[in-house]
Amino acid sequence: MEKRKVNKSVVIGTIGADAHMIGGWVLQKTFKDAGFTVAFLGAVVPQQEFINAAIEINADAILVSSMYGMGLLDCEGFRGKCIEAGLKDIILYVGGTVAAPLELDKNWPEIERRFREMGFNRVFRVSTTAAEVAKTLKEDLGIA
């Protein structure tokens, strides 16, 4: 199968009922500065809106921000919807304060396991900088 050509484009937004948009806003600026095309969807974004935007700009990746602790619930079924929309191999990242219970946050490998099981390629802690995310994505896309 032919490998998809890297388009240097990403979709960024905050998922679910979550109104925190500043982390995503910092990310979109970093990615634009790094030469990416960015569809920045702001906050309170449903899964399908991420996917529609990804199709529209032919995105390499969807970067999901979740700051209010319910990311584990909001991200369920995301990969399935991507597959349905023909985005089987799109890179999915999630980052932020992704789980409300502190006992889960303290057990980070368990959080990683759960998101991997849901089809996410990576999950980033809230302390990760935007520059680190950009560097990682470039590596994952083979354009570092």
Binding site: T14, G16, A17, D18, A19, M21, I22, G23, W25, V26, K29, G42, A43, V44, Y68, G69, M70, L72, L73, T97, A99, A100, P101, L102, E103, L104, D105, R125, V126, S127
Partner: protein, 483 residues
């Protein structure tokens, strides 16, 4: 655009029509609060000796502080367990109150997702929601929580429509809901027009008015939490303008709560000017309102390590205490990671309580820097208020809508699509928040110059030109930690 909203008290007929047609049918638990007079009677009994408004009044008269930790878990048992733990492991009961928040699905009226979150939490044995889903549980469960605590409860309904949540909270003897509109669209909304948000909040304010008139004093929060990155003048304007809308609905007590930017002088000036102008404008329109003030800990990004987070908890509390604010709202060291745990909240109460012991009766002394800062905030807010009143022909609700529409009521960053976002703010050499770009705000020239001069001090100190990257870096000002 024609603006239909007016800053006018809902008649009983209007209120009960909305109640029956829009509010109670939102979810099945609306049935539990159908009989309003019965709810008021039960609320009176349950809040006996732990009424939020009266506790604030008592603390203000004594010159002491009410510590206000925040909590909320997916299940009633977890929530009660948390309150009891904190009260047993700190002396919150001597002078304190709770702010209970609901989960974000509830705030968006997505009660089905909240229900799924409840079931999931039971299955996983931990709280998978970021707050207590008050609407799903309903009034009897809310009364259980009220009975379990020794201190007043206030409720953070937030987001677009907190009307049913407020009905349940007040009927359970919790003595506070929220009166806000611009605050909420900036903080949590995306698509709702301000006019509609004001309409929803008129109901919530009128509900507080009705309880108060029937012998249960309600002190709603009038908050300026906003996006976490807003100028002191904008924060103050939000409180003062909204104080008029709440007062019109018969709200007799208001808790003016301001998110702190963490500069000692500026935050204190902001809180004092807010109280002064809220009083003044309400008097001008003939409203009789008693105001209390409270400082809310920084709303931007928090540091991911306990030591730094505890430094922030202490610094935020010190600012509120030195200001003489009656309410000292607390976050905890879990802020960067997760929903607060009971252990960390108890720790925050102990930190703040010890600060009050250590600081004695010290307050910030009158000084020139403070007077200047107050004068600048006051001039900015007066200019905004007067422009709104002029644009609204004396009607604040209309003026606010016009101001947002035209972009002279504006702030930097928000999920809300109607905000123009033509202003930018950054920190000066002392960490105070200044306008880098004033957009279309009607700033008096001397205030504009003042902000410019303060930023020039930072440019000089850092030996570099001010630029937009510094605005972005400032967003992480408090969350970066030294390695």
């Amino acid at each position: 655009m024609a603006i239909k909203i007016k800053n006018k008290r809902l008649t009983d007929e209007e209120f009960f029509k909305i109640r029956k047609e829009e509010v109670l049918p939102m979810w099945t638990t609306g049935k539990g609060v159908e009989n309003l007079s019965e709810c008021i009677e039960i609320a009176k009994e349950l809040s006996q000796g732990k009424n939020f408004a009266l506790k604030l009044k008592e603390a203000k008269e004594k010159g002491t502080h009410l510590l206000i930790p925040q909590f909320g878990r997916a299940l009633t048992e977890y929530t009660i367990e948390g309150l009891e733990y904190v009260e047993a492991n700190s002396d919150l009961a001597s002078s304190g109150a709770w702010l209970i928040y609901s989960d974000s699905y509830t705030r968006k009226l997505d009660f089905k997702s909240a229900q799924a979150g409840i079931e999931r939490s039971k299955k996983e044995g931990m709280s998978m929601l970021n707050g207590w889903p008050i609407v799903n549980f309903g009034v009897e469960e809310a009364r259980r929580i009220m009975k379990a605590t020794k201190v007043p409860l206030s409720f953070n309904s937030t987001d677009e429509d907190g009307r049913l949540a407020a009905e349940i909270a007040l009927a359970a003897g919790w003595n506070s809901c929220f009166v806000r509109s611009l605050q909420e669209v900036i903080a949590h909304c995306k698509n709702i027009p301000l006019e509609e948000e004001i309409r929803l909040n008129q109901y919530e304010a009128r509900l507080a008015g009705i309880y108060t008139e029937n012998g249960v004093p309600i002190c709603p929060w009038n908050p300026s939490n906003l996006s976490g990155y807003d100028s002191a003048g904008y924060r103050c304007f939000v409180n003062v303008s909204e104080s008029l809308l709440a007062a019109e609905q018969g709200v007799k007590y208001q808790f003016l709560e301001l998110g702190q930017n963490m500069n000692l002088i500026q935050d204190i000036a902001m809180i004092r000017v807010t109280e002064k102008l809220s009083n003044e404008y309400c008097k001008r329109f003939g409203y009789n309102v008693e105001f209390f003030t409270g400082g809310f800990p920084f709303l931007g990004a928090w540091p991911p390590r306990a030591e730094e987070a505890n430094a922030m908890i202490a610094w935020n509390a010190i600012i509120s205490i030195m200001c003489g604010a009656t309410g000292v709202i607390l976050k905890c060291q879990d802020e960067a990671f997760a929903t607060p745990t009971k252990e960390s909240m108890a720790m925050s109460v102990r930190i703040a309580r010890h600060l009050i012991t250590l600081m004695g009766t010290q307050k910030i002394p009158d000084n020139e820097a403070l007077r200047l800062e107050e004068a600048m905030i006051e001039a900015e807010v007066r200019a905004l208020m007067e422009k709104c009143l002029e644009a609204g022909d004396g009607d604040m609700a209309v003026g606010m809508c016009r101001g947002v529409e035209a972009g002279w009521v504006d702030t930097m960053l928000t999920p809300w699509k109607y905000n123009k976002g033509n202003v930018t703010v950054m920190r000066d050499a002392e960490g105070a928040v200044r306008y880098f770009n004033t957009g279309d705000i009607p700033m008096p020239p001397e205030v504009k110059e003042y902000h410019k001069a303060k930023l020039a001090e930072r440019a000089k100190k850092e030996g570099r030109e001010l630029n937009f990257d510094m605005v972005v870096q400032d967003l992480q000002f408090a969350s970066r930690i030294a390695k």
